[in-house]
Symmetry: D2
Subunit: 360 residues, 4 copies
């Protein structure tokens, strides 16, 4: 029987989203003969009347589109239909409207690409509204549980590593300590992966509390070994040396992590006398052309998600484990962020290389 | 007790070898206080008298060195000490000299970075000569058993995908069928991964025999759908349409796969009337700057290999499984090439996307 | 008065064509309030009845489109309306139909993006048909006269240099001579620019006849200096050691340069005993994402071409000279290819670096 | 007669410095049979006793070294020997010591790679100390007079353009205004070149004073045209909306431009209600792998500078004009920064594309 699927992207964008959209559409249309409706701007598209959707044409979703960063469907960050901010500043529950929008489209199932936060909302909507739902994990932070890796992380690590690759020669030429602030709201996966790959000397992540004196002592040790420079990579969510979270406040309200790089650069300069400079990568970590791996993972997830719909297996998330695509209960994915394990392989590798975490 | 390690790279080079050399040296020297001797040109360095080695200084193995393709130690391809070709064209067994060279250096253990072919030789040497040996898997082809992935594969997939990224726009502008020949001696892992990531229409790998008529029929189908071009990626080891292996003969003897891309381009042009062009990437797949993942994997493997030596666990290979570094018996790694599984996840993904393998 | 412009791309594609299309359209529509019709597939679009054109919408020609290689309008290589090959193998003059097609569209002027070959045809059409014509130079080969550089060359040099960057480490690791064959039908601009930038030891271009013995002697010199490898870059149009042009014959007739890299690799191996390998970049030199410079040049040319139309200055080509956009008579651009000057700055630079051209 | 050359890099580092060092050394040694001493850390190396120099070996300055960002000789920023800051905070004139250091090395001439600031100092030293001096222009800002372009600019534009390439998709996915702050102390060359190449909507440079209301009005216009996002690129030296220069103060004294991106992002958000995000590229613009053009220019300049020494032509700078290497009096290069011409080709191109400068 010909099915009609809804497909949406939710939460912060990242490399690989368009490759998922392409894979879902091609597999659903070519293999199963179904129809796919792309929902615009995450759940916002289901709030519009009529719902803001577009039929997706697999012929038009070509290789060039797969290489684009971002999502052609648009996404909406931090708009929760269960507590939807309205003009007067108050919040209302608009979940019923989203569910109504879904049903108005006569959809047979909904596939949502999101992170743990989006999944919590989408799962609640699905249960409340009787929506057969399948999730596909994406997040540059790689903090979704139940899968070894999520779409977008590899691309973000690529961009952050490339930045370290470029900072190292100029640091060495000028005898400087370079501080690179990267994304990572709850978890330091980007910072530790790029830190190892880019040859950082010091890696600061929220999972391992640091003391500034340890950082300064390591820089002194490097100097005594004859090194004239140091590379520091810090997740945006590490605390200031005084133990405070560092936020950037957005005009009109709201805040997100941002600025700890500059704080660290100042503090290190004060403590060590070194000349420091800071780079804040920001959203270049999201929008880059997806790496081959992110396109491959996205394609595998897109195909597998359609197969889950065909098999009638809902409330599940596709996942990558042990070089295979599997699926796990969505509940697992939303049970809290997957953090860097302080005893795990990357930390062990980093310590083996002599990388300092500022602890101990 | 202070140990002295030997370290060599063997077989074809690839992205990430220098990152392993750096990680082994840093962990052995910084963490354990050992000494590391780099052996030049694989086992050839142990045949020289005195053996051709250099003490490796962790301070000099910096981030810039980690980014370099190739191996600073050099490597020797297809020189088997058990059947060593000499000037008059005959072969002799020089294994005893290699073993003697090893012992002359008073080494406590040998770490070798290689593929399945190298491991078979190194393991035989180790058993015959009483050499405590640990292996680290590398191969652009990703055909080593016992590990989900090996050093160098991700970089090769990157280079091959980038080539498809560049061929697609010119193919579309000129209504052409582009054929890209990539490496893959026994296995089609590069071709299938890059084919999915780069949006290929047709993927030809040695594990799935193809018929040219199926390929031509798929190109005709694409045309009927309104597409004016097609992208074909083929592993160098796929057979010609007539079923013959296609080799490039090297002056002075020897041959390796090469040329099937041009053969396919001609055959497709003849059968479909399409204008075709061919690109042969060759060794640019080996020498590129390693991707962040290859540097990360290389670092993890280098650290873990040193830990295996410290634990006295020999005749084993470090491996990546399920987001962890483990170790497996070397015997497993040398039990034959790991091929693309025709029922595995990548083939399923590719078929879901509508990619044609020329079979069926 | 509102004008209606025709815009077409002609000849081989290259990086930056879409940036020109975007610039022409935006300047014509935003600044002058004109209309732009994109003609599909070069002059072929004017042969169709009705002519195959599409109105170009500046809002849709966004930054993402500017980054794409190829041309969204399509192009046709080697289809000359003055001697148009038809099915029975004969050629007919269809120039009157092209001119008729142009006038049927009520166009006020035609802007054509092409190389010297395309300009010769387009200029003849313009004079014969009373078409106010402005040319914009593009060619990866950089062989158009009257301009310091043309669109697409910088991107091709980038791709070729990157290939040398990747070949050098693997050459060094394996003691090999690597031969890279790059494009360049009449001129060796890509080979010499990439050869200098990529650190080649030997550069072979059609403008400087070489002798194989000189090449071999230089490789021997490098060996005596302690170098274990060499990088050779050759334009596809250099002759074989025996003095023959090396072509690749296309099924169904026609031929283009191709294959001299393999011929050279064999000859060098025979003469020096070195192990050689060859890479044939082919069309990856055309389709890559345009470099910033090619996008900048394309944007400057597109804007300037529209200004020429506004000023009523036709039969001219926009050009880059001395950090400014100027315009020159089209006659100059079609007076023969601009070759590498054997006494010019790049050759002098190359000789200063010790690069061997195989001459002398 | 065999000469002995001194070679130093001075001022901020950039892509291509190592390619100059390689070219100078190879040409001097291979062509002329001279000797080259690399001076460490700019003029600081001549202050050391004995002077801190190393003989440069052309065999070791290989292609891999040419690809590295930074300078293997080191450089010192903002250390003027005529007013040298010492520990107690006062400044002393140490120029005589530098000159003495030069003569102690029995050098025949000095080649210095620097920008206009460095040249002013080096020229004064040369005249005072009787030092035959030749200059080679480098600066990411491209603000040296007398040459069309300087080493390092193309690489910086590449990095900045790539950042815009990555910001565009995420801006579009999230309906955001992205602000990218790039380098440019006196001149907006990086901002305007990357702005055109990367498809920016708004370009703010110090040469064209802007009003925030104009910027906001342009964003509103884009919205009315259906665009949901905007890209803003700003040179670090543009003033705040209130007309103040925005500095980042370094611990221990000193300041440099920095932070205007965040100021602009806040101001735009307030005025337009748009969600804004900021990226500060910082030193990744300096340390990247040099583009092929920067390596080519660096090679040409290095060779030409040695030829100037051979010809006994001093107090001159090599320069690029009209596709040739020429030389100009150093006086010209130090006569003030070369700024973006508000009526020049890049500004005209930008306006033709519809880019807003916030003026008018």
């Amino acid at each position: 029987m010909k099915k009609r699927l809804g497909l949406l992207t939710s939460g912060g964008d990242c490399g690989g989203l368009n490759a998922v959209i392409r894979a879902v559409t091609r597999h659903a249309v070519f293999t199963y003969g179904w129809e796919v409706l792309g929902v615009r701007d995450g759940t916002i598209g289901l709030l519009s009347r009529p719902p803001d959707v577009e039929p997706l044409d697999p012929e038009k979703l070509d290789a060039a589109m797969m290489r684009l960063g971002g999502t052609i469907l648009g996404t909406t960050n931090k708009r929760d239909p269960f507590s939807f901010a309205i003009a007067d500043g108050s919040v209302v529950d608009r979940s019923a409207e989203v569910i109504e929008g879904y049903h108005a489209l006569s959809l047979d199932a909904l596939i949502g690409i999101g992170g743990d936060g989006s999944f919590a909302i989408l799962r609640r909507l699905a249960r409340q509204g009787g929506i057969p739902f399948v999730g596909i994990p994406k997040t540059i932070d790689n903090d979704v549980r139940g899968t070894e890796t999520s779409i977008g992380h590899d691309t973000a690590v690529w961009v952050a590593t490339e930045a370290l690759d470029r900072l190292q020669p100029t640091a060495a030429s000028h005898d400087r300590v370079m501080v690179l602030e990267v994304m990572g709201r709850d978890a330091g996966h980007i910072a530790i992966a790029a830190g190892i790959a880019g040859g950082a000397d010091i890696v600061l992540i929220p999972e391992i509390p640091y003391r500034l004196e340890r950082v300064a002592a390591h820089i002194d040790t490097l100097r005594r070994q004859g090194r004239n420079f140091a590379l520091v990579i810090a997740a945006e969510s590490v605390k200031s040396p005084e133990g405070h979270a560092v936020y950037r406040h957005h005009p009109g309200g709201g805040k997100s992590y941002g600025g700890v790089g500059a704080v660290l650069a100042d503090a290190i300069a004060r403590l060590t006398g070194a000349e420091t400079r800071v780079t804040v990568l920001g959203h270049v970590q999201r929008g880059g052309q997806p790496t081959p791996w992110d396109r491959l993972l996205a394609s595998a997830f897109g195909v597998a998600a359609v197969d889950l719909v065909a098999a009638g297996r809902f409330d599940r998330m596709v996942a990558w484990q042990n070089r295979r695509v599997i699926d796990v209960p969505l509940e697992e994915a939303t049970s809290g962020p997957h953090l860097v394990d302080p005893q795990g392989p990357h930390v062990r590798t980093a310590r083996g290389l002599g990388i300092c975490f500022g602890d101990g």
